[in-house]
Symmetry: none
Subunit: 326 residues, 2 copies
């Protein structure tokens, strides 16, 4: 990337930056990775907007990445998952290190399934009819349960693991606990991201919600909002957005609670996220009795081309081949 | 931010990171600000996911930000605008500096209008009940129509304006036209973004869709998909995602058609976007007869604190004041 500016102009504008005197922070957005600073240069107003740059993905840089890190500080660990903050900056080894500029997640040892999840892949939009759900998706989810892939959630619910991370807990029919999402730094309120994990184990996904359960879902919504604003009194109720994923990463009903200012990425996008209030409204509006459920409606969503559901269900359906879930 | 991990566990997982040996880069996403690396630690597979952290926005750090920068390199300059790369890292001053980790924009001198544009606007989550819609939102929309704010859309539909941009057109009850979205470069297929604007003028927003109209919406969906893949044969039907906004930017029914790989931001997020297929499913599921409509369900969405609907409707409601729409 070479400059197109004449050298004298480049030298001039480069000399302006260190003269910038802060007046105030105007904004911090893009998940806190951009800041807009108002200040003055030679007594005239100036705006300085700074963004974290993209990673250099050259082979040499990625190869030395893990050994170049300074001041690696573990934030939490559970089973094969551990998360950290770290610095790119050598002066971080001093007594007053600069703020960390990397968040790290380590999965070790990892499985081929983890690799698949993090590898770049094409996406497809699928339409899951009630019949497809019943014949293929639900049996697929049941197979995941039978394999014991939910054990880590049950360990948390049973108080066996990650109890220090549990920020709030309530028992009973409307029992749930709140955990910080792995992607949240646990500090920046505007990127607050909590997970509300319900205690009951009979709801595998949004598909299991019935019209009869609409008041329960609405009640869970209120309780989780109550707990979140109690934990973070600086956040107002109407600054929190609740949604669920379909398909979720794991098949035990959980609700994402995020600050409305959190940079919206794929995790909040249509095709992945369903607004909780809109689900409640959809359940309430369902026409065919109290047992009518989200299993009776069509749901469209995105799938990665390497996801099991695409490979085992939707690609065979598209190609007119036989579907074998297990 | 303190770790919740026992010190010996923390020390162990921290010692794993420098032992990570790269196998290959799996992905670079979040606008390049996250990388997923596959490697090995003691011959076992490991995944290391690194993200650029949020800026530290403490007063001390922001105050010294401009003077802490190393290796400031101008990329371009035009009038009051200049853009740069820079390093946070002191070793950047050496002969082989590490890759820059900041992008900077300088606007100097800047005007109050620039400041307003970059200053944070808070967002609020509002829940629009059918009663609020009927009493306040619908009259607000009617007032927008009465003011003639839709004239530019009618000019396009009537063939009077922007005809060079119309990529596809069909007349009749299921008539519509396709335009490129302003944010699309019209070239990059993976960021394809079209607008499908319907010809009929009686649908101001998703709120006007009734159960009776579900087949019409489904038909429009098919027609728009047909047209899009005819225009861009390299794109498959199941690589296209359709959604509508509520609140929309203008109150004439239009559908967003995007490539599923398009980086999902606020435009696709829950609280703003509603998946078209899910709307069709919700309409079909409605219980109270053919005239049941989206006006009868609750809808939650985000509003900017400087938006008219927040200032005129939802803030007064929150504060128990009288609502005056006009």
């Amino acid at each position: 990337m070479t400059s197109t500016t004449p050298p004298d102009v480049a030298a001039h504008v480069e000399s302006l930056i260190p003269k910038f005197q802060l007046t105030r922070l105007l904004n911090s957005d893009q998940a806190g990775r951009r800041i807009s600073l108002l200040g003055t240069i030679d007594s005239q107003d100036a705006l300085l907007i700074a963004e974290r740059a993209a990673f250099d993905t050259s082979d040499a840089t990625t190869r030395s990445f893990s050994t170049s890190l300074q001041n690696i500080k573990n934030l939490g660990a559970n089973d094969i998952y551990a998360w950290f903050l770290a610095n790119s900056n050598p002066s971080a080894s001093g007594t007053t290190p600069p703020p960390p500029d990397f968040k790290l997640n380590l999965i070790y040892p990892c499985t081929p399934k983890h690799i698949k999840k993090y590898e770049k892949q094409g996406l497809r939009v699928v339409h899951e009819t009630p019949a497809i759900y019943k014949s293929y998706t639900r049996p697929y989810i049941a197979a995941q349960h039978a394999k014991g892939t939910l054990q880590w959630v049950y360990n948390i619910l049973d108080g066996l693991k990650e109890q220090d991370d549990v920020m709030y807990r309530e028992h009973g029919d409307a029992g749930f606990l709140l955990l910080p999402d792995l992607n949240w730094d646990r500090v920046t309120l505007e990127s607050l991201h909590l997970l509300g994990i319900v205690e009951r184990r009979d709801i595998w996904s949004v598909r299991d919600l019935t019209k009869r359960m609409a008041p329960w879902v609405a009640h869970m919504r209120e309780k989780m909002l109550d707990a979140a604003v109690k934990l973070y009194p600086q956040v107002d109720r109407d600054q929190l957005k609740l949604y669920v994923h379909y398909q979720p990463t794991y098949y035990h009903f959980h609700i994402h609670i995020v600050h409305v200012a959190l940079e919206a990425g794929m995790t909040q996008a249509t095709g992945k996220a369903l607004g909780l209030e809109n689900i409640i409204a959809q359940l309430e509006g369902l026409g065919s009795g109290e047992d009518a459920s989200m299993a009776d409606v069509g749901l469209s969503y995105n799938l990665g081309e390497r996801s099991e559901l695409w490979e085992k269900v939707f690609l065979p359906l598209k190609e007119g081949r036989e579907v074998r879930v297990d």
